[in-house]
Symmetry: C2
Subunit: 256 residues, 2 copies
């Protein structure tokens, strides 16, 4: 099976031109097939404010009313996606920017009403791997943003970590998939202020232990849940690290 | 040669949900390969204003400073492109949204300084027809927005009529291309208030005559220049009409 690396980069990195440039160079130099997945939440909040709107969040997730959906569609699928694609093209990387609606690659459904109304938030239903394989086989490098659709004409705001994991899971039957989450920390740490407390590897048991003891909390939980979902669906490897860690092969590896 | 229809729709249509829906159904039902090209200028002006910016135009062309480039990239490549793609997907049309940077399909260069500084406005340099052919052969339907790139990482705002004509010219060696400009009028008219004054056909001589006599003026001139460029480059047919005209086969046909 061909190797496929799925690299997810966060919205903070997108706003640091030098670090982003460094990361895109790293991505471009990865051997084999690859897919980049990006967020853009920080810029979306800035643009919302510039338009006189107040971003509303719940447990780190954006509450997406109709106008907020317009903003995230503009920022994720427009500004951040096309800037990233243009930069990759400048490196000689044959990037093609995609939302889940493009070539129908990611179908999602509007999150059902619970205690919190997330509005136009989409949960991934399926990944159309044939279309992605066709693009990869044509030598293209998909750059996926955090917008999907429901197949009925409705765009939906979808968590970028989840998209990366869904792509990893959906493509695992056909590629030797490595999922890389690039974020601001060297990896998952016992003590966020102490780089030496990096946890080099997590399996379901140690993950359950660290969660029960309050070592792994907040935004790290859905990220790790996504990473476990990917390896459980057959991804060969999932790793969470900063760019230096990804380059040197350190970080936190998630194993099934 | 396979038939390829390139339909360009304007920003006004994008803001009329029912008319747009009607137009996308028409597009979906076109036989053979097809490409949709869209603008989005009206929404870009609205979003600019919502962000406290004042859109600046010169002879119908937008003066694109850095922040305006951000706005048009958001609106054209993000909001309008993805909404259109999602609507086409809902009809069963395998749409894929593209800027010129995606798969490097349209390379442009920043307009050189003249009397007017258009800022980040791009003039098309080349169309990479191989990539477009690969997408078309994969059964996909490209939906192209009016953003291109210079290959050096810079996005550029590019006139949608010009993009449609450049695609028609670039793909004419490989397809039997028909270029359709869909706008608000039944076609080119001697008297804009009298539908009966429709000019059914224009060749270079009659076009020169009508221009010299002040019958064809303003925004119609670059549109017709583009249409003539397409047929002179080998497009089989170019027509300018409203949706009713395109459906019934009327409008103004541009012949070489």
């Amino acid at each position: 099976m061909s190797k496929l690396t799925i690299l997810k980069i966060g919205g903070a990195l997108l706003q640091q031109p030098e670090a982003l440039s460094d990361c895109l160079r790293y991505f471009h130099e990865l051997p084999g097939h690859k897919i980049l997945v990006h967020g853009g939440g920080r810029r979306a909040s800035q643009i919302s404010k510039a338009m006189g709107l107040t971003p509303r969040m719940h447990e780190g997730r954006r509450l997406t009313d109709e106008v907020t959906l317009e903003v995230v569609t503009m920022v994720y699928a427009g500004l951040e996606n096309k800037r990233t694609v243009a930069q990759l093209q400048a490196l000689g990387c044959p990037a093609i920017g995609l939302s889940g609606a493009d070539a129908n690659i990611i179908l999602s459904e509007k999150r059902r009403g619970g205690a919190v109304d997330y509005g136009y938030a989409g949960d991934v239903v399926s990944v159309q791997s044939e279309q992605l394989q066709a693009l990869l086989s044509a030598g293209l490098v998909p750059v996926c943003c955090a917008i999907t659709h429901d197949g009925q004409g409705q765009l939906l705001n979808t968590n970028a970590d989840t998209i990366a994991a869904s792509l990893a899971a959906g493509l695992a039957p056909d590629y030797e998939v490595e999922l890389q989450y690039c974020f601001e920390q060297p990896g998952v740490m016992r003590n966020i202020k102490d780089p030496a407390s990096l946890i080099p590897s997590l399996n379901p048991d140690s993950y359950a232990y660290f969660r029960a003891n309050g070592v792994i909390v907040d935004g790290m939980v859905p990220k790790l849940d996504n990473a476990f979902r990917a390896v459980q669906a057959g991804a060969k490897r999932a790793v969470i690290a900063d760019l230096a860690g990804l380059k040197s092969g350190t970080g936190t590896e998630v194993v099934d």
